[in-house]
Subunit: 353 residues, 2 copies
């Protein structure tokens, strides 16, 4: 049995970490839930019994074997040395250590081996990267990858529970405040009618702009090269996880008004010739992947189906009109709270059971 | 003065055609509005006076100089010969004739010249194509284009007023039927909670799947090569409009839960070296384009701002991580009812005033 502590237990990812520990039959000894001071003493019902939230402390880590961190980069950075010193394995969902050379960045089933040689910390990849990697890794192994071009459709839960709440509250405000849809087509056509009123309670707080009935091509901070950090993560992390610095990778990351599960439109150039059938064959046998690709039955990946699923849906596979017989185009949908965060973190911990 | 008839006058595009005739100061003589039988006699208030809807007839075209068609391919095909025979110029918003060699496919300002030599019919391009073309044409002229890779974020109004209504009704059903957002985070995380109940009034009718809180990577019919017709239109039409069969072009077309204005993530390889500054310079002087590209101020194209605007917003311009100094990545948002349909059609008609 392993004593486990979840840091950030009341967040969207934290809640799913508890569920994943159960679903994967992780041998949980004592489960501890760390949250901010305002949740101190709050009782959380878990499959491992009721657990009272506590605040972070050295003692928590001294008495735990594994710490699953999902409380942001600052807290991860602040506590890393003390967690390691306490002899507790840190699995970190933030981007704090992902790009340190000696910190493994791991997707179990893709580069599990990399987890072995670690400095007491293992990093969990960015959600968009992890979801794409599930589809790309089987293709990479068989056909090689030269170029990866990604455009994302990212749910509000990628920004945590606050993101989901902002979408829901804003959408409700547009309906109730503006009475959307009560009149005819002229009203639906009026661009002002879907705007949240400035100064209203539903005005953007968490996202930079209104997200209800809108999309925002801006996730995480802008870098000097004009890409956002979210976009660069896909390039940096794909190369590190695949152990191949030669892969050219670019991304446009866009927030959309959905609650859960990210989707990605992906165009690839392969090293070797590839066919749609060849790709379907390797993907249909790949762990963590559901091939959902029968357009004659209108079957393709969609967030509404991928939400809550461990596996990443892959479909719309077709020969690339850009890269010909050395390329494919595909569409993926995956639950970023699971494959992109909680599931992946618990799977990393499972490597040490 | 020109007598104008709008066929499909009560649809989303038809309504905007009336607005565009006024906004462009089109010298409207008599305006006639053709709709289906169920709208017969319905009085529409227009800037040119109240007009009673009528059903389609030869007489309508005999008494008109220009017919703006936006009632679907079948009606366009059925009436083409009779409209031409009546000596009325047909500007057709459907895809019925776009790929006929002798029918010009025109975006005024891009290939206006092509309109001159026509067989009585001029085709209006697909909305996604037209919006992308506004951004790509100035770049093409200066730097050339070898590859164009597009992923779209298409509003429900691309499917007409019925599409908008389905999104609004479904979203309302999720809120009211499921009482979404009334409880805490566990409820928001529950994937079942955002699903429209099967058999309910809000179940998908017009779109193949639920569109509220979902996205659907399927617009128009699937072709033998696995691409949808919507996706192939971007490839076929870009080459025809630019008059360059050498441009490799691919698209992934995705319906998203917004009401109005399409967005597109575009990666290009250019013939000549290109810089971000070089692209900004040609785009800032391009007609029909608003350069919205200052990430330091969180300014980039978004549908909520592009909706209702004639100009297409272009931004997020950055050197491509895939094609290096011969490539760019960019993001565009444009009103598909205007640039992608009504505005473009009225601008075509203006070429003959």
């Amino acid at each position: 049995m392993k004593n486990v502590v979840i840091v950030g237990a009341t967040g969207a990812v934290g809640v799913e970490m508890i569920n994943c520990l159960k679903a994967l039959n992780f041998p949980v000894g004592k489960l501890r839930l760390v949250a901010s001071e305002k949740s101190l003493g709050k009782i959380i019902k878990t499959p491992f019994g009721d657990v009272a939230c506590e605040v972070i402390s050295d003692k928590v880590f001294e008495e735990s074997d594994v710490a699953l961190f999902s409380a942001g980069s600052d807290i991860s950075k602040e506590w890393r040395d003390r967690v390691v010193k306490a002899g507790c394995l840190m699995v970190d969902n933030s981007s704090a250590f992902r790009y340190e050379k000696d910190v493994p960045l791991v997707i179990p089933g893709v580069n599990s081996e990399a987890a072995k040689n670690n400095p007491g910390v293992i990093a969990n990849p960015n959600c968009t990267t992890a979801i794409a990697a599930m589809a790309l890794w089987p293709i990479y192994k068989k056909f090689g990858l030269k170029k990866v071009i990604v455009s994302t459709y990212q749910a509000t839960s990628g920004a945590g529970a606050k993101g989901m709440k902002e979408l829901v509250d804003q959408t409700r405000a547009v309906f109730e405040g503006n009475n959307l849809g009560a009149k005819g087509i002229e009203e639906l056509l009026d661009p002002e009618h879907v705007k949240v009123k400035a100064g209203s309670e539903a005005a953007p707080k968490f996202f930079v702009h209104q997200i209800a009935f809108n999309i925002i091509p801006h996730i995480d901070k802008f870098q000097d090269n004009g890409y956002t950090k979210e976009e660069m993560k896909v390039a940096w992390e794909t190369r590190k996880i695949f152990g191949d610095e030669e892969i050219a990778c670019s991304c446009t990351a866009v927030r959309i008004p959905t609650l859960r599960a990210h989707s990605e439109s992906i165009v690839i150039e392969t090293r070797d010739p590839v066919t749609v059938e060849g790709a379907r064959e390797v993907l249909s046998n790949a762990p963590g992947v559901d091939l959902v690709d029968d357009v004659s039955k209108n079957l393709y990946p969609m967030p509404i189906n991928a939400a809550g699923k461990f596996n990443v849906e892959v479909g719309r596979i077709r020969q690339s009109l850009i890269f010909g017989d050395h390329g494919l185009e595909l569409f993926v949908s995956g639950d970023q709270l699971l494959r992109g965060a909680a599931l992946n973190a618990v799977e990393i911990a499972m490597l040490f059971v």
